[in-house]
Every structure is written in structure tokens, then in C-alpha cells.
Symmetry: C2
Subunit: 151 residues, 2 copies
């Protein structure tokens, strides 16, 4: 890889504001959490048109994930009874690159602030990207999941 | 933000291999492109269990996107006739953080190599994360998009 590829550096485009200050237990009802995504005011114009979408994809940095050596296999959702899976087969925040991807309902856009429902990010999480949710591109009609997936 | 948050650095976990060496024109039939994602062999075990999913989410670095000053508004899909939209309302690769997100069919996993269908990444794109596609979490039944979206 050349230099451009080996040094990938992210700059936050904004920050998550909500009432979830610490990682809650597994099973927390994130779907009803309301958050504000405060985008850097220099980028306000780049949000124009987003209000036409009911849902958006948020990429954010899971800043409170574990650091240090990562276990390559984990118990999904922390359930010790179940079989371990590779970390890329689960959605654990403890990943080589701590990027979370959430699809959330856009309730309102006001200037540089997006009010969203269902974002499973902690207060203070840096936001990396916002993309419109395109059903024809982002969803799959016939997806199959293994039996240990319960949602 | 503290230091941890302001310096977000990504390390590639793998690389895309396919026959698409340069950005093709808008409308290219990416859905039928077959790619191999070669994951760093130190992470092979972290893929265990992924083969139980029919579809996976790939986060990758759009290494050939434009650099320099970004226009905050663009013509969607390069269609000069249509209205401009903010860059966060479209899926242009020319974004503050050049991360692409694709949902693709997993055809085969063999050791550290994932064979996938429909990945719209150029050959040589660094791979940042692999996540299982969870229909209940990643898809939305009632999503609304603006009229200028055609797919």
C-alpha cells in the first residue's frame, strides 16, 4: 500500500448528544432513544436535502470501546451460554476499527442539528459520516442469518 | 474532545481484489461484480461464524476519491440537470471521511478470503470493517426517500 492508503485518518464531522453517558446493559431499548447529532457548523450546507429522507445512516466512533489486545472470538451479546463467534460475525464495539453503523429515523433537521430516534451511540461519540438510507441499496429482501441471531 | 477522540486512525484489516481498476461511469452494474476481500491473516479467526450469514456489510476506504477542498453541494449521480444536494444527502465518495458502506452477498468464505457479489469498491480499496447484515437492525420497512432518488 502507498502512504495515502496506509495512513487513514478520520476527522469528526460532529458529535452525538443524548442522555446515555455509559454503556448500558445488553438489551437496552435503544430504539426509543432520542439523540441530537450536532454537525460542525462549517458543514451545515452539506446537510441540505437530507430532510427529504425518513431514515439516515450514521457512522460514528465508538470511543468507549475497549482498547488493548482484542479477543478474536466473543460470545454474541455477552451471552456466556452460547457459542463463541469471530468478532466480524458479531456487532461488538470491540473491533480493530471502532466504527459503529446505525440506521436511524430522522425526526428533524434544524440548521446543523439532526434530531434522530434509535441511535445506539453514547453521548459524546464523534460522528464520522452521515449518509441517506436508500432502501434499494441498503436493504436486502432475502437475507439469511444463523440460528443464534435473535433479532 | 480528548486526545483519544481527536486522533481517530484507521488500520486496514484487508484489501479488495476485483477487476475494476478505475472508477466506472455512473450506472455501472456493480450488483454483478464479484470481488475477493482478502483479510489480514492475523485476523482469520475473527471471521469464524460469518459464513452463516447470506449478506455482510463492508466498510471500506474510497482511496481514489477526490482530495482537496470538497464542494458541500453536488449534483446527485453527476446528473447536471437535477437540483444540487448537500454531500451528506447523497452517496458521493467525495466526503470528509471517505468511508464507503456496502451491503453485499457473501458467496463463500475460505480462510481469510471472502468472496462477495455486488461490492462497489475499486480494486485495491482498503477494507476497514466487516459486519454481519442483520435485517432487524439494518433495514427499515417504511423508509421514505425524496423524489429525485431513482433506485
Amino acid at each position: 500500500m502507498d502512504d495515502e492508503q496506509s495512513t487513514m485518518t478520520l476527522k469528526a464531522i460532529g458529535i452525538v448528544r443524548n442522555e446515555i453517558k455509559e454503556q448500558p446493559k445488553v438489551g437496552y431499548p435503544w430504539k426509543s432513544v432520542i439523540s441530537e447529532i450536532v454537525i460542525d457548523s462549517s458543514l451545515t450546507e452539506a446537510l441540505d436535502g437530507l430532510e427529504g429522507f425518513s431514515h439516515i445512516i450514521v457512522l460514528y466512533w465508538m470511543h468507549q470501546a475497549a482498547s488493548g489486545k482484542l479477543p478474536l472470538k466473543v460470545h454474541p451479546m455477552g451471552r456466556k451460554a452460547g457459542p463463541v463467534q469471530g468478532l466480524f460475525a458479531v456487532r461488538t464495539p470491540n473491533r480493530p476499527n471502532r466504527i459503529g453503523k446505525a440506521t436511524v429515523r430522522l425526526l428533524q433537521r434544524q440548521g446543523n442539528i439532526l434530531r434522530v430516534e434509535g441511535l445506539d451511540a453514547l453521548d459524546g461519540s464523534p460522528v464520522i459520516d452521515i449518509k441517506p438510507y436508500l432502501p434499494g441499496y441498503d436493504s436486502v429482501a432475502d437475507a439469511r442469518v444463523p440460528q443464534w441471531i435473535t433479532n
